[in-house]
Amino acid sequence: MKKLFILLLLTITLVMPVFASGSNEKLADSNSDKKITLHFLGMAQAAYSEQNVNDMTADFMKENPNILVETEFVPYEELRNKTLLSYGSKTPYDVVLVDDIWFSEYNKKQLLNNISEKVPQNYKDGILEGGWNFVTKKGNIIGLPWFLDSMYLYYNKALLKKAGFNNPPTSLEELATMAKTMKEKGIIDSPIVLSLAQAEALMCVYSNILEAYGGNYLNAQGKYSLDTTGGLEALNYLLSLKEAGTLNKSSLEYLEEDVRRVFSNGDAAFAINWSYMYGLAKDPAESQINSDDVGIMVIPGAEGIKKSAAMSGSMGLGVISKTTNPDAALKYALYLCSKKVQDQYSNLQLPVWKDSYDDPKIQAGRKDLVLAAKEAFSIMNARPSDPNYQETSSIFQTYIQKALYGELSPEEALKDAVQKVNNIN
């Protein structure tokens, strides 16, 4: 009994400060009751990082003292579910981060406000067209493009040089041969690292390879037909990397951050990842490799098919239709997308504004990234915009992995996957 009592006392003393700090905050909120409180749901990622977003938010609150913004960040894997689940709760978010592939679904479920009339003209003119494409559904603007992104091919120049290569590959086939040579010469055991975990990251990598082979998820009738429209070549390519042993075998459990760690540690010569990795791979605090050795380029196309390929992985901000403060929410979203803010926080994420790309300040120290981005955005394609995208994607993820593990032949895997996907659509 005595022990129990001591324990209780201990717990209370430990917990009290937490309670106290929690309630103080509540008190502070209610004191200024004119204040509008907004809830923003973002994503825990490298760019824009939580810290970045919080700094932007703090500046926003300074400019708008009557608005208090509470930010919250969840991993990408939880972002969509959280948005849908919270929509049903008493405290839905006001502004949410939306991946480009979710806009169709959100639109169908009427989750987001139509803001076509409220977006200022200078935004409509100044932001890259590619951005407006993915936030516009059925002619209505339901979101603001926050960042445009694509996956790039990163290479370690030092390792390439060691193997006698002075230039990066110009095609996927060349990439595979170079990797093989490096492995054979004993320079590096598994030269290529990709994010192929059973997650959306796999779809992003696969989509880029698909794009490089000129393939498409849908056929001319708008039906999923990956098995006959280039999907097979892309899958075979990934499989050939794995079979040649040039692909880091843990790739099948890796997400983007794992890929970054491996590349930044000098344990891979090639990696496919988003633009945020560029800054971090060059940052001595985050990376063991020399900043001059970080090479970036648009993912090369397949030989004889196209020069290069890019698949959009952009995200936008949406105003939740249930919000009680639609104007304040939009104001906050517009602020986060404004040119001033985007230019200021552009060290890991490039702005969505056309003019920024010619700005010497933005280009400084990373001309190769800006050039690659410019090229990527001009050719960028998108994953299918489909209200059932999430389920579709998880089916493809499973079957692509099954093929990569050799459980099914690539032909069977894609055929089964397409059949399944068409059953639900």
Binding site: E77, N81, L84, L85, Y87, G88, K108, K109, Q110, A197, Q198, A199, K249, S250, S251, L252, E253, Y254, D258, R261, V262, N265, D267, N388, Q390, E391, S394, T398, Q401, K402, Y405, E407, I424
Partner: protein, 291 residues
């Protein structure tokens, strides 16, 4: 007369019954009703009754059946390992040795660790590049190359089972230990005098004594293991290639990722039957043993 008195007290049960009806009884009935509809997550379309369509689909769904199989394999493997390891360890720490008290006290650490923390901890340990396991095995020259524990289909479920066994064997061993300590010393002495060797003593004195406690541990563990969700969801989310997707994860994805509450409910009902069957088999076996 006796009946009268006891009925008077029924009122004392009422609050418990009320709460049980609201949070267990009613949702369960609602789940069953839901399983005959096409109800969605967000109430976008009017709910339609679809009869047994969900059920006929479910029985044809190989993915669901294979997720049940994974739940079954997982439960069988963890429970068996935990019972064997737990009993062995319980017997071991029942021997006299220096530092016995400390070792016995530390036994509770794995069990006390929250499941989520346990899952996260092992995920870090299994990390293919920077995880402790690869580093250790490599430095001890046990493996020539780093192993991708969580993305080699043949190893992933095993790795998760290992993590679960680590946490839960300790419960079994503590229960065994508690019951070993209640064996009257004279029984063992008597057996010794009768000339029984160590194995015979275990078989005829120790085992019958600890058996009831072992059964308790067994039931608790089977119940938990068949329902497994947390540890797998955090370590692999059911991957790679759905190799570790348990029944509960399958249902979660159907209802919340695919936004189909109706068919999710169907799978939940079927899972409940699956669990009830396992429990019934177990009860039958126990009854047989008793006779």
């Amino acid at each position: 007369m006796e009946e009268d008195i006891s009925n008077k007290y029924s009122i004392l049960i009422a609050p418990m019954v009320f709460i049980m009806l609201t949070v267990i009884g009613w949702p369960l009935i609602r789940t069953i009703l839901m399983s005959f509809t096409n109800e969605g997550l967000m109430n976008l379309d009017p709910v339609k009754i679809v009869g047994i369509e969900n059920y006929t689909n479910a029985f044809q769904n190989k993915d669901f059946l294979s997720s049940l199989k994974i739940s079954g394999i997982f439960a069988f493997a963890v429970v068996t390992s935990e019972m064997i390891l737990g009993t062995t360890v319980g017997l071991l720490v029942n021997q006299p040795f220096k530092g016995q008290k400390i070792v016995r006290a530390l036994l509770i650490v794995p069990w006390a660790l929250p499941t989520v923390v346990n899952a996260m901890m092992w995920k870090l340990i299994y990390n293919p590049e920077y995880g402790a396991l690869n580093s250790m095995l490599y430095q001890m020259n046990i493996i020539p190359n780093y192993v991708s524990w969580l993305s080699t289909p043949s190893k992933t479920l095993g790795a998760i089972i290992f993590a679960d066994v680590w946490k839960n064997f300790s419960l079994v061993s503590m229960i065994v230990l508690a019951s070993l300590q209640s064996i009257p010393g004279h029984q063992i002495e008597a057996a010794k005098i009768d000339g029984a060797n160590a194995i015979q003593r275990f078989r005829y004195v120790t085992l019958p004594h600890i058996l009831p406690s072992l059964q308790v541990a067994l039931v608790l563990r089977i119940i938990e293991a068949v329902k497994v969700f947390d540890i797998i969801y955090i370590m692999t989310k059911g991957g790679p290639a759905n190799k570790t997707r348990s029944g509960t994860i399958f249902i979660y994805q159907e209802a919340f990722t695919n936004s189909r509450l109706g068919s999710g409910a169907t799978y939940a009902v079927l899972l409940v039957f699956f669990i009830l069957i396992i429990i019934m088999i177990y009860m039958k076996l126990l009854k047989k043993k008793d006779n």
